[in-house]
Symmetry: C2
Subunit: 673 residues, 2 copies
């Protein structure tokens, strides 16, 4: 249908959608950077969605029972910025649109969680929004089951592009969503047949509808520029029949641009002044850049207020709840951790110091979870098909699946990346504190979503077991060597590598009370002795590093280690002490937290003077600053660890072959002295 | 069908397959570690495949025109070890089987490339084998197009499990394979409905046949324990109709174990002595562990010799080729780089030093490729849908696709992980030196396969552009901060971050002549001046770090930097020199290579005494050893770089806001002095 015919067929809709298009092309032009094609192509779909289907109230952006809108195709960020501005989200002023992609603006190149209300999650790395939305939909289904439809009754709407569907993470996401029968997850696919390199047909021939159907999805299609047809499809999509829904929206990228529309030329570059003028006129839009006629603003504001009544009715229902249920709901939504946690962890630590069990830290983690999960109803655990190895499932959790929404344990399947993204979504939605396990080496598979946990500051917990060559026979593909370095190099990520049950409990306490930082627990497969035999209520792991064994006199040597190698350091220290060399052992369960300590604490733990040797069955890179001091300190420093990949053999043999032993540590100290 | 009926129906097949099963369960038992279920379940399929379909000659394991056999479900490694031993691969002695999973054995926990002939690629991280096989099949199709069926006419057979199909990378792989119409890629899916956590139905409901069909695959099914039915399916699968083929093999995991067969209990644990005895008897196998009756060995050896005649005929055809074609073929298969490369790079460097262009290093990389690609017919380029941004496509390459196998450029689509794995496969197959591009931040998505490049020592080249906050407005999701640390922490990976066209050319030369190490080229989006103005034929990048600008006198300060920050270091040095502070600038394009230099070279470049400041728009972690010296050197050291994630704004603004400027560098030096 020609443009004019479309405009005349529904002028009301046309002007609303045109406002998005024009704002998008103008903001990209002003920034001389950005992606106008997608917002221009999906403006009609987004207009119908926000106008007729999305449950929200612009005056209360964080209303718990709002529908979630996730722009998985995050490069089209001007679409969401336009929508937030037009519907009246206070933080998304016109000034912000004018400062698109500029320093300090809420309107970053890609939507950044925390920059403005209404941005539910950070997107941009393709597929992440789609995979995160699975977590949102899981959270909704679970809260609904726990608190009833009167408190939780909303949908998760996602706009995804071809890039999202081509990324592997999308398969993990859609298979999981189909399996879990997340019928209120609706993905609007911007089916424009264009990618950055040109026609989609250059790189893909997939029948996406068939593919989604194969994973238990319902599929629909619509003309993505016909408001009536869009409305029909979205109405059908909103009927929850247990299957998540894919709506293929047939669109033209850069819709309205005669020269560039329908081509990759409009994907990621400004249209240019001439083409913008021509397109403006094709839209019959007569206003200057960033000038919105009052009448259109007013109509968009009405849309923004559409959900107010529903929100008020919801609030009244919350108020009318019996006190205990109201409090339980409020506690869950608050994200705060129960006061019961700290004393429970302290009691566990006390018992551990007394009983001194010899267990793998993965088992220690399970012992902690057995205390934690009954206290914290917000935890939702899971594993990427390594439940028995990750020790992530405790007795009281049921299985969360299509039949049992009350369950609190998720069999994520062999989908590390999808699991990590779903955990982000569960946490972002509210009501949950997710943790999930896999082998530490498969951090590689989950990296994309783990980085977003850090960037967004989502306090999810990654339970990464089998954290070194100590896993033994599975060999180098399964043995992390560089992963601790990688995680410690990632900003805003706490990498815990506890040495025993006590440190494991402390790490969990920190992870579960964190409010802006994800945690990674690097846990051993092999058994480790309890080393913290003197109980203290203080959480020493919170200091990042601390003196575990003091030297018998003024220390001549300081041994530092983490996790399974602390035992080696302690043995080496004993041997050195026996030879008359006073040796201090410093346990380093979390470098990031140690870095945050006051300088005098750090200097007390690691004074200048003694020989320093670090022991960790991984690469040296993250230890250099501790070995050398931040401004250079100690010439006499050494490292006992890995310089290459591991190998397949029993763990004891590997430690010996790679020279990570008390004997090697003793020898290194003596050589340095 | 009951076991006995199956045995009696085809006793010949039964005994051959039983040999695999018994070896597998015995080796796992002896190691007290491993995965017996999969080899026991897939022994029938593997027996029929190797006996009747796989083209190979055990006496010439590296015969170029052999079919490739890839065990994507690598945990079932005893399957391939058994097959290699039984068919007579010399390196796979019975001793190796007895030493399964022990130190120094070829029989690692998961199949490791390079441990023994016949292991075509390292597998274990699920999905990697399947995705790598796409590269193998691409290589075969392309070599066939280039040299004809008389020289290249083989298939790629893959055994994959549910884990392989659940991992996201599998979707990238199957969509790419279907799009490219790799009709000689045949995936045998071990459809046993069991994963580690229990029934597959705990975590998945996908209709895999439908899913593969959606991506243009042909699908077949068979009873995975009926040799006749397997043969029928494999015969059909081997008919190339342009579509890759999935064969669903309905099997029972741990087939033959009455107690544990068909359960997850047999997935990853030894069966135990009693159950092994019972299973042995169910197989009617009367021999002791690792004892193979001569008759069975003889029949398996016959199978191993099946391909000898075909191989000899192939060799005769090679010998009969006209000399130029024979040499061209031999050169391609050798993996050696043409002598023409080094002088061509030298000429390019000379011109660059003279012309001193100001170009982004991504553009510099394109200029190098324009020289390289016409010289090296083995290069095959590509990008994950960022061709224009990665500058990976040169004029003379055509597009490699379903129609044009002569093309040398691949539109991999938005599939970083699939691309990286396919590159591994292309290189491992032989005949190709692949390179592929994406944004540096999306290293995260490709990590799984990039780690395997390093572990296997496959010299592929990752062209990672937009390598810092210097990319500007796309914001923190697209701005690498920790990725240089992550790559530098990874063993056997050369991370190049060239500063200008000259260093870019040198890095490419090293990457293209590497024979056991993958390379990552971290390249700028923004323009950079040529800094190497004095031409030298020597490849200075090969030293890893070198003096780019000497101080005017005995240096009081040394500035180190890589890539786009070398310009900042040079400007800072000029300012310091102007203030009378003799300052040396050291360019550090590749830390790994600098680490490999003799100690006196390193000490000459970085003498003790002067203040050291490093400048890199990334986290400090990898620089500590250079700042402090390997055994501790310099108290007075500082770092100018990133401490957290980036932001969205024009690049210049970001450098200023994050304090990565000549002024900040000067101030840091002065404060340290």
């Amino acid at each position: 249908m020609p443009l004019t015919a479309r405009r005349l067929a529904d002028p009301d809709h046309w002007s609303l959608a045109s406002a998005i298009r024009v704002l998008s092309m103008d903001a990209v032009e002003q920034a001389n950077s950005g992606h106008p094609g997608m917002p221009m192509g999906m403006a009609d779909v987004a207009t119908v969605l926000w106008r007729k289907h999305l449950k929200f109230d612009a005056s209360a952006p964080n209303w718990f029972d709002r529908d979630r809108f996730i722009l998985s195709a995050g490069h089209g960020s001007m679409l969401i910025y336009s929508l937030l501005h037009l519907t009246g989200f206070e933080q998304m002023s016109l000034e912000q649109l004018k400062n698109f992609r500029q320093w300090g603006a809420a309107t970053a190149g890609h939507p950044e969680y925390g920059h403005a209300e209404g941005i539910e999650t950070t997107t941009g790395p393709l597929g992440q929004g789609l995979a995160t939305s699975v977590g949102f939909a899981m959270a909704e289904a679970k809260m609904r089951a726990e608190f009833g439809e009167e408190l939780c009754d909303h949908r998760t709407w996602v706009i995804a592009g071809d890039g999202c569907l081509m990324e592997g993470i999308s398969q993990e996401a859609i298979a999981l969503a189909g399996h879990l029968r997340l019928g209120r997850l609706i993905v609007l696919w911007d089916d424009n047949k264009i990618t950055i390199d040109g026609a989609l047909s250059l790189s893909d021939s997939t029948d996406q509808l068939k593919r989604f159907e194969a994973s238990g999805w319902r599929t629909l299609s619509c003309d993505g520029h016909d408001p009536a047809d869009i409305d029909r499809a979205l109405t059908a999509a909103a009927q929850d029949d247990g299957r998540p829904v894919l709506v293929a929206c047939n669109t033209v990228i850069g819709f309205g641009s005669a020269k560039k529309g329908g081509t990759s030329g409009v994907h990621g570059s400004p249209l240019g002044a001439d083409e913008i003028a021509a397109t403006r006129s094709a839209y019959a839009w007569e206003h200057a850049p960033f000038e919105l006629p009052e009448e259109i603003t007013a109509r968009w504001r009405e849309i923004g207020a559409r959900g107010a009544a529903a929100r008020e009715a919801w609030a009244a229902r919350v108020d009318a709840l019996p006190e205990d249920r109201r409090e339980a709901f409020a506690a869950r939504v608050s994200g705060e951790t129960s006061d019961k946690l700290v004393p429970a962890i302290a009691a566990l630590k006390q018992k551990a110091s007394t009983d001194a069990p010899k267990v793998a830290t993965r088992k220690a983690s399970e012992l902690v979870l057995e205390v934690v999960n009954p206290i914290l109803p917000e935890t939702i655990g899971g594993s990427a098909d390594l439940t028995g190895s990750n020790n992530t499932k405790t007795a009281d959790l049921g299985i969360f699946d299509a039949q049992n929404r009350a369950g609190r344990y998720v069999h994520y399947g062999i989908r590390e990346h999808g699991m990590a993204a779903a955990m982000n979504g569960l946490a972002l939605h509210g009501g949950f504190r997710p943790y999930g396990g896999t082998f530490m080496a498969f951090t590689d598979y989950a990296r994309g979503a783990m980085r977003l946990s850090a960037l967004m500051g989502v306090p999810v917990v990654y339970v990464m077991t089998h954290d070194s060559i100590g896993l033994g026979e599975d060999g180098p593909t399964h043995q992390p060597v560089e992963h601790l370095a990688m995680l410690r190099a990632t900003p805003n990520t706490w990498t815990f590598r506890p040495a025993d049950l006590v440190e494991t409990a402390e790490a969990w306490e920190l992870a579960l009370t964190a409010d802006g930082t994800p945690s990674v627990l690097a846990l051993s497969r092999q058994n480790l002795p309890t080393l913290r035999l003197d109980h203290t209520d203080d959480n020493l792991t919170a200091r990042g590093a601390y003196v575990l064994r003091e030297a018998s006199g003024a220390p001549q040597a300081i041994l530092m280690a983490s996790g399974s190698e602390v035992e080696i350091a302690v043995k080496a220290a004993e041997a050195l002490e026996a030879e008359g060399i006073p040796t201090r052992v410093v346990s380093v369960p979390c470098m990031e937290l140690f870095r945050d300590q006051p300088e005098d604490y750090r200097a007390n733990v690691l004074p200048e003077g003694p020989v320093r040797v670090a022991v960790e069955a991984a690469v040296r890179q993250p230890w250099d600053w501790l070995l050398m001091g931040e401004r250079g300190a100690e010439k006499r420093a050494g490292f006992i660890g890995m310089t290459g990949f591991g190998a397949s053999a029993p763990a004891d043999r590997l430690y010996k072959e790679f020279g990570i032993t008390p004997e090697a540590t003793v020898a290194k100290v003596k050589a340095l002295l």
